[in-house]
Point group: C2
Chain length 180, copies 2
């Protein structure tokens, strides 16, 4: 299966900690293989996400990147496709079939999620600029919906192996079991 990597641009310590955490945890829960964070280096953030992986399983990796332009260049050189999620792009339902075909035929996808200010060059570097509704909302929501449509909902039934904790779904209340 080809890879899905999510790159978060322009992270700022403290101010973006919760939103970037939501971006990364959403990437993991919705089936991405790796999360990359550019901007300010924030080891506490990355370690927090790593603890989630230890506890809840799966193979999700997170890493800081110093030079995101190099990440994009290398990605393209290796034949991967670059998707930029932006409210100004082509609306998801009009483009997802094309992207899904590329992915299913073996192309790795790098999904770029901006912060407050996205460098203008990103719009021309990306293979696809994709919007989820062309309305202002949230990079977390856009990422979730992109990943969900890409994988046609299969990701919601994914099992995360090797964790210490597992939820047994309940109609009422909470049930978490510890796996030894």
């Amino acid at each position: 299966m080809s890879r899905i990597v999510v790159l978060r641009l322009g992270h700022r310590i403290i101010r973006d900690q919760r939103l970037t955490t939501h971006v990364l945890l959403t990437a993991r829960a919705y089936g991405a293989d790796e999360g990359l964070v550019a901007g300010e280096r924030d080891d506490e953030l990355l370690n927090g996400v790593r603890r989630v992986v230890e506890n809840w399983g799966g193979e999700f990796k997170v890493n800081y990147v110093e030079d995101w332009r190099k990440v994009l260049r290398d990605w393209r050189e290796r034949g991967g496709k670059i998707i930029h999620l932006t409210m100004y792009g082509i609306n998801l339902p009009d483009i997802i079939d094309e992207v899904r075909s590329l992915w299913r035929s073996g192309r790795d996808l790098l999904i770029v999620v901006g912060g407050k200010k996205v460098p203008g060059e990103l719009y021309s570097i990306a293979d696809y600029n994709i919007a989820v509704t062309n309305q202002p909302h949230s990079e977390v929501a856009a990422l979730a919906t992109f990943l969900d449509w890409l994988q046609e909902g299969e990701e919601l039934r994914r099992e995360f192996k090797g964790g210490k904790l597992k939820i047994i779904p309940q109609r009422r209340g909470k049930r978490v079991v510890r796996i030894d």
Copy 2:
């Protein structure tokens, strides 16, 4: 069409401002009719969302609620259903058809999104406790995916009428037109 209202619990000024804004803007962009915020009263937050509605159109309302338990009681008395989004609930793909049938047959839906600490009683008050993956991630992602599956993607093509700004989707770059 029956109504969709999103209730955000436990809002805290400053600390939750961005995430609650993302919850509300996601609610709007994904087709909800109204957003309610419980917790600390935060007029700046509500006015920020109202400005988005003025600029980008549509009929989305936001309001503060003092007593969320009363909102739930009144909702139920008027025949509406209460959905609580929680990682401990039944996984979305296993329950969405049932909820969608209720909604399409005319039941209003109140979707409750917790903050850090959700009062335990909510699990028994809700008609449905629904998870999106049973993995830890983001209430913004969970709300987006719930609304998307409920409406089977139709919400992504919705037009927002009466705004001042409109995006013309582009493969490269940004194009926003002002509507006079």
